[in-house]
Amino acid sequence: MSEPIISIRNVNKEFPGVMAVDNASFDIEANEFFALLGPSGCGKTTLLRMIAGFETPTSGEIIIDGQDISHVPANQRPVNMVFQSYAVFPHMSVIDNVGYGLKVTGVPANEISTRASEALERVKLGNLANRKPDQLSGGQRQRVALARALVKRPKVLLLDEPLSALDAKLREQMQLELAHLQEDVGITFIIVTHDQDEALSMADRIAVMHEGRVDQIAAPDVLYEQPHNRFVADFIGKVNLFEGTVTGARGKTVSIDTAGLGKVQVPHAEAADGSVSLAVRPEKVRISKTAPRSKSVMGTKGRIADWAYYGDVSHMFVETEKGLRIGVIIQNETRKTVDAMDVGDIVHVYWSPEDTLLLNS
């Protein structure tokens, strides 16, 4: 493996009374699209701002391309940032905004104009070079902010909630565009977001943060299918959780006594004991009015309590006699799918033990 472009080593950041970042240690590889994901207040923005140089770590080191930059001022770091508010300078034209970072560092005027125009072309804003920011839409302003950062040819591009101010359609489009842009320019991107869809669809690897700590770092599919703990399982996507206690283990199968599902056996590679949580994703749950034919599935019986129709999918909630509430997502595969069942119907919900995750509580 090559040298990591960024090494975060035992980084702590303490604000009065709060541990904003608690002993973060991880590496980011060159050309990686890396996401810091977590709920608001989890420390992800603080970590990004420490990389950018707007906050100083209380302890620990941040190494960019082999150089410890913990005490290098923001304007001398080889990183650039796209701010949440875009922070496009309102009194400068688009092209002046893009050229600003070159101008203040003494790049000759003719080089500034060629590089700035090039950067604007790259974000498809070449025709708006002489506009003022107040004549641009939110999406266009964001592109200016992107071009302005990329024109500096940083080693790492930092993006702080870049899509949160855009409407849903534009956000989806920009997600794809950012991913393409990253491949195109070959710069490491670090994005901070609280939106799991954004992180899952764009990033190569995601660090899930929770109360200042990094809970898990993994590729999107690993994070979704094999979350380390309850928080990650619950935060990434939707999940049904069942509490239980381990009663025994044989080979790679663990027996668990759960309150709602009775005694079940699920495959699990590691040893487990004590109280645990069983997790299953709602789209992996099957639902039918007839009992499942296969004996190898696990599940229960209940009444459809709620039904939310989303066009392509339907979300259902099934309530069991033991008080469990199980979420199910079904594809509306045919036009008749939704007619087959109705709220109040008694149904069987079941899933394969392989799709069940065992999480330590």
């Binding site: 923001a74 304007n75 940032m81 922070a87 309102p90 009194h91 600003y100 203040v104 107040d134 302005r148």
Partner: protein
């Protein structure tokens, strides 16, 4: 069909269509500006007593122009206003930045003390200035012009800079700190960031503050009265002494000129600020 020609019914927030409010607004304007109009009209009155209208003349403008001590007072006023505006704008801007940017012990107390000249009765400030300049430093009489105006200028700076600081401070409250961070992120140092990013945002506040300081200085009477000597009369003080003898159209003429200067300056300042307003939106 007639419905078409009827006006839409008055909405709850259509204040400008309420008759009594329109009347009220008109009354305010009349009461505010009628005295000034009277002043201007009677500056053309061909009467020494200036009580009843006796015909049109411009001779009092000529007379005012030839009144050397009035012109001298006018030049003094402008000189003091320009000098004190420059100093208090710089001082006020620096204080505004200090209060906006930094946290330090006793900041609230500092902010309160800084604004004291705004709330202290002017007469107290005038007496204090008189005592200070005559007893402590020695009155700058007998100095060469314009240095003999330095006491008045200092007094004006002392009471105008808090206004400038407050205006600029209010403007900076709306500044997006991410702009400053973006500038540094792109490689600019503190100095470049200030002049390229912070100052352009601050400018309308600076212009407004400077204008406020200028007009405050130009028409101040009380503090100036206590700090001026026999050879350092300012325009308001001179007008006051003229009025004590008789209210001639000459006084009106001189005052009209002052009104015109103020209005023109205000228009220029509004013009200067206009493009910035669209940028903010």
């Amino acid at each position: 069909m007639l419905e078409m020609f009827k006006r839409a019914p008055q909405g709850p927030l259509d204040y400008s269509r309420r008759l009594w409010l329109r009347f009220f607004a008109a009354a305010i304007f009349v009461l505010l500006y009628l005295p000034i109009f009277t002043l201007v009209i009677f500056s053309f009155n061909d009467s020494k007593r200036n009580v009843v209208w006796r015909g049109f003349t411009t001779k009092y403008y000529e007379k005012a122009w030839n009144n050397d001590s009035l012109i001298e007072a006018f030049v003094n006023s402008i000189t003091i206003a320009v000098a004190s505006t420059i100093v208090s704008t710089i001082l006020g801007a620096m204080i505004a930045i200090l209060l906006w940017r930094f946290r330090f012990p006793f900041k609230a107390a500092y902010e309160g003390f800084m604004a004291l000249p705004i709330v202290i009765p002017e007469i107290c400030m005038g007496v204090a200035m008189l005592a200070f300049f005559s007893r402590v430093t020695g009155y700058p009489t007998g100095w060469m012009w314009p240095f003999n105006l330095s006491a008045i200028t200092a007094a004006h700076i002392a009471f105008t800079f808090p206004f400038v600081a407050i205006v600029i401070r209010a403007r900076m409250a709306g500044f997006n700190r991410e702009l400053e961070e973006a500038s540094k992120d792109l490689g600019a140092n503190e100095w470049q960031t200030f002049w390229n990013v912070i100052f352009p945002y601050m400018r309308p506040g600076v212009v407004a503050g400077a204008l406020l300081a200028f007009t405050l200085s130009l028409d101040d009477f009380v503090i100036t009265f206590f700090t001026s000597g026999p050879d350092t009369l300012t325009f308001p003080v001179k007008v006051y002494s003229m009025v004590r003898f008789s209210v001639t159209p000459e006084v009106n003429a001189a005052s009209t000129i002052l009104v015109i200067i103020t209005v023109v300056l205000t228009l220029i300042a509004m013009r200067l600020q206009a493009p910035d307003k669209t940028e903010v939106a």
